[in-house]
Symmetry: C2
Subunit: 458 residues, 2 copies
Amino acid sequence: MERILAHIDDHFDAHLDQARRFVRQPSISGEGIGMPEMARLVADRITELGGRAEIVPTDGWPVVYGEIDQGAPRTLLVYGMYDVQPVEGETWMAPPFEGQVVSLEGHGPSMVARGVYNTKGPLAGFFNVVHTLREVEGRLPVNLKFMIEGEEELGSVHLPQFVARHRDRLRADAAYFPFYMENAQGKPVMWLGVKGILFFELTCRGGDWGGPTVRGIHGSNAVWISSPTWRLVQALRTMVGPDERILVDGLYDGVAPVSADDEELLAALARTFDEQTILQDHDVKRFKYDLRGVDLLRRYLYDPTLNIDGLVSGYVGAATKTLLPHEARAKMDVRMVPNMEPETVVATLRAHLDRHGYADIELRVNEGYPPAKTSVRQPVVQALIRAVRRLGVEPEIWPHLGGSAPFYLFTGELRLPFAMGGLGHGGRPHSPNEYATVEGMKRFEKSVAAFLVEFARG
Amino acid sequence: MERILAHIDDHFDAHLDQARRFVRQPSISGEGIGMPEMARLVADRITELGGRAEIVPTDGWPVVYGEIDQGAPRTLLVYGMYDVQPVEGETWMAPPFEGQVVSLEGHGPSMVARGVYNTKGPLAGFFNVVHTLREVEGRLPVNLKFMIEGEEELGSVHLPQFVARHRDRLRADAAYFPFYMENAQGKPVMWLGVKGILFFELTCRGGDWGGPTVRGIHGSNAVWISSPTWRLVQALRTMVGPDERILVDGLYDGVAPVSADDEELLAALARTFDEQTILQDHDVKRFKYDLRGVDLLRRYLYDPTLNIDGLVSGYVGAATKTLLPHEARAKMDVRMVPNMEPETVVATLRAHLDRHGYADIELRVNEGYPPAKTSVRQPVVQALIRAVRRLGVEPEIWPHLGGSAPFYLFTGELRLPFAMGGLGHGGRPHSPNEYATVEGMKRFEKSVAAFLVEFARG
């Protein structure tokens, strides 16, 4: 292991150049810029490292699929993405597609580039580790498979299609998502899962029940013609009480109790968890509940949520204009905690609206997938924990994220435990001056090398 | 009277040219196009007719003030406007600032031009009547004062200022607003007043109570951080019940009972009032109430309303984006019926929000003025009714409009009874192909001539 770490130190300038090779190729999925070129670059890199790679078409941007078979007992499926967010209209301190290293206040020398944090930097770093292990050991301790998608920034639209079509090729012992997990305070944060999400839209339009049906009409008619806007407000009010508690009967049904393992993780987490930092980071004065520590964390992680992401009706410009709108829309989401399923939630919401007399209100689902998590006891998770501890770091372990990602594809579709993370720090994803610290990029590679060695051990 | 009507018939081509002179001069207050030129044209017209005119500055577009003093016992204050709506982006069958006469299906020969209906046509027509009376009789039977504003399409922003500053000059026996009052079905509809309006905005932002204070934050935080959007929904729900009845304590206080005169008008009105036409015109399937005739009319005219004109919060684009918004806004209005005052309504709304625990929700008033109406018994109203009857027409008389206009300036500030209307038909105000029928323009002039004669008689 020492030889491996020393090799990373000795060749790190060349490793940075590999990361630079990736970030220099723009690959903006949302604008269709440089996507085939980037897919080719990733596939070529896998081939350079002795693997086989294929650019597999989907109904959207292709997936780069690769294999490095070493005849090892265990196989790891590496998930990643080759697309990045747009930079249109942003002002950067260094060109976003060059990979300059600049000194950032509070962070030291850092590479500033679109994608260097999210997530070309970690992906390039992973490949550097593969290269290093082959240089030092002659071979890898595990077999690798790669599934590198080009639509993560679009919501992984066609990844389910790819997974369904290539289930057999994707067989492995575990999945892994390379990512820098040290936050701005230098704390290494490790998540064992994600919440699910149901993103949907409620639309109330005038119809047989009343209200204008075709266009907004003069506001003076509100006195004798019903308002779809008021109707949507009334319907929403049946779904959530003044204390923000969800009133939709059955929405909490099936929510899994917190497991003993998770309670243990929560207790540990509460020792380093800092409520004030959360409030400050979000410019919020107080939480929804007068709770602290484990009790607050339990709410955060295990409560389903019904959120209004957006609400619009009628005239919302600066002027004075009276209008009786013909339509009101709410964009909403339910964050789903373990054991919740999008289909059940949709049925529950629909039944609630119908039961309260709002059968006319349209419920249209935009997107939905269930939560996904891996037990802390899984070998792949334990391997990652041991790896960072070998580098002298004690991770803060979260049973799962408050956020969502379609990792049910691993846990549900492919029945694979998964782990994500690695040391390293970066920031400002989706924003100007996205960065990763040079020191963190190096620490990342060392932690990944240790992870692969630990994972091979089982 | 016969000689007057014949003179109008004989000289009507010249009269149409006068209307054309007005519509050919663009005068778009909202875009600042042609405003001084149009004010000058109106002032010149008053001078041509033997009066004195002045273009009086305000903090916005000037008001054209004029007088034609005939030493008559009675004085009429004519209110009008010289501004029109924009035509930007509209497609017209004839250029909007030419005044072409074209044959319109269902309407016959009509002048198509911006402002010909709203309201340069009626204004030019009124001046034509003054010209005719002077030609035929040598003098007018009444003294005239003119107050022609340039900001009607902007909400008459500086008209209160003008009235306050020139109260003495505006003394008269009654006010009159020239307008074509025959609707698309050929029915002459006469309104004796308008509702008042309070236009305001409610804004709920994150603050000491919770919620994001500076910007929208990641939607996953909705599980432990409160939502200004849900809070606004909850607050709105306290104001109006599921049956759309207003729940704001005190909002109905002071609402005047329907007077005996108005009940008589309602009973007459119900004989010609057609519910189905209202529904069809607005593409609405049913009214808010299962009422008909007088009962429905009573609601329409004498119920205050609390309407949501617009509602907005968070992300309302087409994509999937989870967000916990930091702000939610509702643009709202209260239509005020007789005896309601904007100041009282504001205080009532504020007290309601405070009492329900929403003291943090901002209530900002954009505009507000009380209702205004004139009794059917007033001589100016009776004169207009007699005038149209002399031309063989029985008007449908409404105690007041469902809509609003700042006519409290007449009834309240200046203590003047007022009347509005005249025969004639036009349509599509604020829209492409705004028109007035040539036949209607002629009927308008005849009815105005009869009105001035009747008004002089008392």
